[in-house]
């Protein structure tokens, strides 16, 4: 049981850290603000996300 709890925390952390969980958050937000509009699919969201990243470069330090 304890190991399962651990595995869940690790998975949660990795999904949050890598931004994989962003899509879920996005959908929730989308449903809240535009209840009638269809939620973009994961694939469509990925394209949006890539476009956004294209125009907002992040600094990485040395």
């Amino acid at each position: 049981m304890i190991t399962r709890g651990w595995a869940r925390s690790v998975r949660w952390y990795l999904r949050e850290l890598t931004g994989e969980a962003e899509y879920d958050r996005y959908c929730e937000r989308h449903r809240h603000h535009h209840p009638l509009a269809p939620v973009p699919t994961r694939r469509e969201y990925q394209v949006l996300r890539a476009l956004h990243r294209e125009e907002h470069p992040h600094s990485r330090c040395c």
């Binding site: 998975r11 850290l17 890598t18 603000h33 990925q46 990243r53 470069p57 600094s59 990485r60």
Partner: protein, 720 residues
């Protein structure tokens, strides 16, 4: 009281731990931590002539960090910055689900750490080990506590209070036009030098090493594969793609051993100059390609490797408990005539170790993505101060890895090629001339143990660290059989970091250049105009490529020449950041506490300006660029060739390089001086003014997030 004064809200204010006394248990705990730290420092200080365990270094550092975090960072938070958790952060106010959204502090700590930590804290301490392990350790620990972590935390806080504004914008808003413009140009120029020097570390690590070159080259197809996986095959599945990527990466490292012994070895045995062109080409392509293809997957790969390897190294150091073979304080600390970098302990130790103690570049990250994601104001302490302490610990481990090597081997790897020659005999002889011993046999054996052709003059820090890490790792996992694997693992891991920094840096540089040039010719400023993208990417790549090329071909040893330039540049950026912090503290009526950033500012200005001054005006041709130029120019006039130059072309190269480097340092100092003078004027005005000068802090909005763990309703009227 600053503008952050808390208005009367009906909200339950969290109890202020403030003046309440510490519980007996906590007193006992902190007394024990202090005692442990003190004992470890005592052992380090008093051990002379005997070899001590690296565990003492770890204990001394961790004890100091714990105390600094518990007491000093809390003091800064409560007395100086006064974060207010009832105030909505930009993440909450401007929430858009993309750039701004309140992020769990543990996740944000991971993000921030991955963005600030890279190859810097691994390289500097290795080079600084020439002065012994003690001066480096003292500077890393004291520097991070009083300067580096303070800078990161305060910049993060100020940027957070200004909706995540960048350092350049804050300089312009808080200091003035001239200061802002100078800061912007300085940031750009410093980034170019940084990219050139970091790329040079990769070139030196991969030159004539088919194993290393193969495994690093494989990171490109692996990243492309991951990109396609995350974008096309299984959109958004980052974790699984990263795990596959890491597995492939380990396979590529193992495969390198096979390549090295196959007929393909020649294809991957490249000279430094060829590698330079490969890297420049790669940098250009990476900057022009869509981010999802190469840059984003590399970033994930690098983050996973970073966190994994650093954790592994920490375990390795504690379990293997290697003995420090380097002197605590070497003779080069006092003579300043060391072969790895020239110059006296003050100021050159303090610019050689930048990342890990104080790194100006962090100010760009702390005023970039992170402030837009903070959930509660008080978390700046954990994220700003805490992440920097973690980076400092990485630097300590790099120092340990270097200090566990036999000093003879260390110098055979890090002195310039011109001094060491190319054979084991010549290198052994040269090392003896420095006052250390290593037999040609030992040198050949050390190279064979990690399956490299040679370890002579593999400067740049990465190979030395890799040898040290392979010693530590093979002591814990796998024994001598895996030594070569661990060596190439370490090389690959450093190269991966650096290439990620180069990708991201080229892109950031391109945007900055487009922004600046857009003022002159409008279309260049458009981020999606292809010719503009190509032109600006090309210019940025050409700029750092120039330094990379001169570094790789410099007869005097590129790292030895360029690393001081990199260190000075990075610390000057810290001076700019600390100037902005001090100015804001004074302007917002917190003059009483301004010393918190003013003291490290004074220190870093003293260090960089002394170093810069010596680099420009010193009569010693080993230290002063213009003295060096004069020496070689005179010799050319007299028709002589001075070693280590081999012919007149080499002589001319030295003359050109030292001129460029000298002028650059002068330019950097000038730019930073403009910022500081401009800031001083503003500060005097602020002190004379009867009431606080206006700052650009965003107005107070009450937070709706009651507990850090439960973000519910978005704010009405704030954000989209």
């Amino acid at each position: 009281m600053p503008t952050s004064a808390m208005p009367g809200t009906g909200l339950p204010v969290p109890p202020r731990p403030g003046r309440s006394r510490m519980s007996p248990r906590s007193v006992l705990l902190w007394a024990t931590v202090s005692l442990l730290g003190a004992v470890a420092w005592g052992v380090l200080a008093l051990a002379r002539g005997e070899k001590i365990s690296a565990v003492w270094l770890v204990v001394a550092a961790l004890g100091s960090y714990a105390i600094a975090y518990r007491f000093y960072s809390r003091f800064i938070a409560r007395r100086v910055l006064q974060p207010d958790d009832s105030r909505a952060t930009p993440a909450e106010r401007l929430e858009d689900g993309v750039d701004f959204h309140p992020t769990d502090r543990r996740v944000l700590l991971g993000h921030h750490f991955a963005a600030i930590a890279g190859a810097g804290p691994l390289v500097g301490p290795v080079l600084a080990a020439q002065m012994g392990y003690l001066p480096g350790t003292l500077w890393i620990v004291a520097g991070v506590i009083f300067a580096g972590a303070v800078q990161d935390m305060v910049v993060l806080f100020l940027s957070m209070r200004r909706d995540g504004k960048s350092l350049g914008q804050m300089a312009r808003d808080e200091i003035g036009r001239a200061g802002g413009a100078a800061a912007l140009i300085a940031v750009f120029a410093i980034m170019i030098i940084l990219l050139g020097v970091l790329a040079l570390v990769v070139v030196n690590a991969l030159a004539h090493s088919p194993w290393g070159t193969f495994s690093v080259a494989m990171t490109v197809p692996i990243a492309l594969f991951m990109g396609v996986w995350m974008h096309r095959i299984r959109p958004g599945r980052v974790v699984e793609a990263s795990l596959i990527g890491v597995a492939l990466l380990l396979l590529a490292i193992a495969g390198g051993s096979w390549i090295q012994n196959s007929s393909l070895a020649d294809v991957f045995t490249l000279s430094p100059t060829t590698l330079v062109f490969c890297l420049v080409g790669y940098g250009f392509v990476a900057s022009v390609l869509p981010v999802w293809m190469l840059l984003a997957p590399r970033d994930y790969l690098s983050t996973f490797m970073k966190i994994g390897t650093i954790a592994l190294l920490a375990v390795g150091v504690v379990v293997a408990a290697p003995v420090l073979r380097a002197d605590a304080v070497s003779k080069f600390a006092s003579t300043g005539a060391g072969p790895v970098f020239a110059g006296a302990l003050f100021p050159f130790l303090f610019i050689t170790i930048a990342c890990g103690a104080l790194s100006g570049f962090h100010a760009l990250v702390s005023s970039g993505t992170t402030p837009k994601l903070i959930q509660k104001e008080s978390q700046v302490r954990m994220i700003g101060y805490g992440a920097m302490l973690m980076e400092s610990f990485v630097a300590i481990m790099a120092l340990i890895a270097a200090a566990t090597l036999e000093p003879g081997l260390y110098y055979a790897m890090n002195a310039p090629a011109g001094l060491l020659g190319t054979t084991a005999e010549s290198a052994s002889h040269a090392v003896a001339g420095l006052g250390f011993t290593i037999t040609p046999d030992q040198l050949t054996h050390a190279a064979r143990a990690v399956e490299e052709q040679t370890l002579i003059a593999r400067s740049g820090g990465a190979p030395t660290l890799a040898v040290g890490m392979s010693e530590i790792f093979s002591g814990v996992f796998g024994g001598t059989a895996l030594k070569a694997f661990w060596y190439h693992f370490a090389i690959m891991f450093e190269a991966l970091f650096i290439l990620t920094t180069v990708d991201a840096g080229t892109r950031v540089g391109r945007f900055m250049l487009q922004d600046m040039l857009g003022n002159v010719f409008k279309p260049l400023g458009r981020v999606n105009w292809k010719p503009g993208i190509w032109l600006c990417s090309g210019l940025v790549v050409a700029a750092w490529g120039y330094f990379l090329y001169t570094g790789a071909t410099d007869p005097l040893g590129g790292i030895n020449q360029l690393f001081p330039l990199f260190g000075i540049a990075n610390q000057l950026l810290a001076a700019v950041a600390l100037t902005v912090c001090t100015t804001v503290l004074i302007k917002s009526g917190r003059r009483r506490w301004a010393w918190v950033t003013a003291v490290p500012l004074t220190w870093v200005v003293a260090v960089t300006f002394t170093a810069g001054w010596q680099k420009i005006f010193s009569d010693d041709p080993k230290v002063g660029f213009f003295a060096q130029r004069a020496r070689y120019a005179d010799a050319i006039d007299a028709g002589q060739v001075l070693p280590p130059a081999k012919n007149l072309t080499d002589m001319h190269t030295v003359v050109t390089n030292s001129t460029v480097d000298g002028i650059l340092i002068a330019l950097f100092l000038l730019l930073v001086a403009v910022v500081i003078v401009n800031a001083a004027v503003v500060c005097v005005r602020a002190v004379r003014s009867p009431h606080p000068l206006p700052t650009t802090e965003s107005p107070y909005v009450e937070s709706r997030i009651d507990r850090p763990e439960q973000a519910d309703e978005p704010l009405v009227g704030a954000g989209s």
